[in-house]
Symmetry: C2
């Protein structure tokens, strides 16, 4: 019985890993769509958000089902409740990638991002994806110490976010108000995406309470996720 339970908990962990992979790809593609002025790619990110929502629905159903059938207590209960929270963070990350793609689509065939801020936006996109990928690895139980790197990456994101405002407010900003509004919103989308990812990583670390999650293999041949501890 307990082994079945932990198998199911592990599957739930895999859904989180999958969802994190999906939102990472979404943000990577949204950034490309934005900077390369690629309408097809923007449309793909927008339509692919359904996939994130489908994994969210499935994860919530599984988590709820586990709570109802298995009546877990203590650590197992905390794991499932925390999973529901992480699912909400990940869904929001998908929405934020979608918002970035929608700005690209709205301004097409013009570029939403003026030359002055392209490098900063590109790096914010890279860091957002890097943070999501490390969060996925933390969820997959690969390396809990990645959490420290994630915090450093997030500090860098905050720095870039401030740099973005400095560029918009500089005397030589010649693009006017509309691009400034777009960039303000886009900057916030990246920053929030990173915040939610950091939140997920922190919750995993909290669950494993400082122990390094083992990259062990479960009896069913699936890799053991951090949640399957």
């Amino acid at each position: 019985m307990r082994e079945t339970f932990h198998d199911e908990l592990n599957q739930l962990g895999e859904s989180l890993v999958e969802m994190t992979g999906l939102v990472s790809v979404a943000m990577q593609q949204a950034t490309s769509a934005l900077l390369d002025v690629d309408l097809t790619l923007a449309e793909r990110v927008i339509s692919d958000d359904e996939k994130v929502d489908a994994v969210r629905d499935e994860s919530e159903r599984k988590a709820f089902d586990l709570l109802a059938r298995q009546q877990p207590v203590a650590r197992d209960l905390r794991t499932i409740v925390t999973t529901l929270r992480m699912v909400a963070d990940l869904e929001r990350m998908g929405d934020l990638a979608l918002h970035v793609a929608k700005v690209a689509r709205m301004r097409y065939p013009a570029a939403a991002v003026p030359a002055e801020v392209q490098d900063t936006i590109r790096e914010m996109g890279d860091i957002a994806v890097r943070i999501a990928d490390k969060t996925r690895d933390v969820l997959a139980g690969k390396d809990a110490e990645l959490a420290e790197q994630i915090e450093t990456d997030d500090d860098r994101m905050d720095l870039l976010h401030r740099r973005l405002f400095a560029i918009l407010l500089a005397d030589d900003w010649a693009q006017g108000v509309e691009p400034a509004i777009d960039i303000t919103l886009i900057g916030r989308y990246y920053e929030r995406f990173a915040d939610h990812s950091v939140s997920v990583a922190r919750q995993v670390i909290y669950l494993v309470t400082g122990e390094m999650p083992q990259p062990a293999t479960a009896g069913n041949g699936r890799p053991e996720t951090a949640l399957g501890l």
Copy 2:
């Protein structure tokens, strides 16, 4: 046993009602601080956010404790899991009121809101507070049909949000980029505050599955909340 459980569930509902009241007051004060250029009020909103976080911590502890001790199933389980989600929405609403107050503080003694957008921001603030207050009433089980009014209020919020951008982008906008950035962010804070409140109201309605929650009085003399059904 079940009566105790429903008493506890009802207390949890009261915590949500309290939290909604706190974030409503926070947003009302943050809007006043912003429009009346009132530093003292802005500081109060910023320091009062602790209270929201304290009720959040207490609610999460109670919900978790109920799950662990009472092992609820079906509807009761769904109620507690949904409560945890609503607590997260409400905490975020508190953060958004805090963000508005921080813009007021950052620009003090200057006004962050130029004359051209004061009326729009004032109405967005009023609607945000109205939506939160109606959500509190829905939570308190007073009137599930308020949910319909909340959707209408939220449509109005979206309209005002679009109007805000129209003002910023009009040819006669003479305030330049910095106020445009502030207003873009402030507008988003109000819109997101309303979104989270609508989300809470919808979750309550979902829980009561179309039935009007009864404004009955529980045996312990506390008013029965919508969650105590």
